[in-house]
Amino acid sequence: MRLVQTALRCYPQRWRRRHGEEAAELARLLMRDGTPARSIAWSYLKGATSTRLVLPPGRRLGAAMGALVAAACSLSVSLALVSSSAPASAASVVRLRITDRAGAAGQLRSLLRAHHFGITVTQEPVSPSLVGSIITFGARGPSAGRGNVFSGITGPCAGGARGCVDGIVLPVHFTGAARIVVGRAAGPGERYAAAAGIFRQGEILHCTALLGDSVRQALPVLAALHLKVAWDTGGGPASREHVADRRYYVAGGTARSAASISIRVTANKPAGSTAASRHGQNC
């Protein structure tokens, strides 16, 4: 904590009056979670340097003094960091990957058990291309320290699109509480907890050729699909009549459920939304 206090003293007095106590409290909480004091001190030192070098126009002397104070602080904190005897922790991780999309949650639970991790795996309804992918993950409570940061492994999505998370990397010695949420197929009318773009491979409007079409052209297709549509003009939801009259173009969207979607429209035809680009979507 002494390191952190040294770094906090590098901030201008007005900053310390405003944030000082809270910043020290935050440092204590982060250290309790496992974040090394040196990392916190270094972050505050960088923040203090930035704060001192950002001054109102015309304060040249102040800026010069700020730079000097920041330099002096850097030296004192650096010396303290060098003298710190805390050992560096070795980065040793486990990589777990989903290969069975239909049984993703079960497979992940088995893998976690095999490594003796007491991590909860739950499932949420998602749009089709996210089924079997990891939606969210992370350590919880006091376990969520810097040494316990999880990261995702990116792989293919259901239906062939790219960019889904199908694996996870976590510290081999992780022993705390954590949760991983895996996407499952939604039931009829069930609202999605997460959804990919509606034109993505595997999603409801993939290869419908509506992307870049005018709303007038899109309306009959959407009606035939029996989809409930909310129009989004960027300034908020708009009525179907308003959007159609203005000759907006379809620019993207997300599904709320299998029967309900939100379509984003723009006044100008989106660039790249040609038949050739649709051909690149493996249609």
Binding site: A7, W15, H19, E21, E22, A23, E25, L26, A27, L29, L30, S39, I40, W42, S43, Y44, L45, K46, G47, A48, S50, T51, S129, T136, G138, A144, R146, V149, F150, S151, G152, A161, R162, G163, A196, G197, F199, R200, Q201, E203, H206, L211, G234, G235, A251, G252, R264, P270, A271, G272, S273, S277, G280, Q281, N282, C283
Partner: protein, 116 residues
Amino acid sequence: MAPRDGERDGAGGRDVLHRAGDASVLILTSLAGGTKHGYALIKDIRDFAGVQLGPGTLYGALDRLERLGLIEALPAEERRHPYRITPAGAAALRVHLDSIERVSVTGRLRLGLGGI
């Protein structure tokens, strides 16, 4: 603080966050889900983005967002100041997310990845 050249105004459909940095966008995204203090912000951002914000970075971004009127500090609870996104902040975040979505769409289409 007046927007610099090239910056955009959220309320007017321009992207104020164009040069604000990733930390500002992450903080606004977190606050869009409800009022939070510093520690809760760091935990939430780590959970939804997998990004570990340093406390110095956090306070720098909070000060900047407050100066821009995109967030506001609420009265302290014990030693913690909760922050809340303002209507201007919500508008700016929306404009910025639309902007990066357009880039994402264009990039994916040009790479032939076939999805948005």
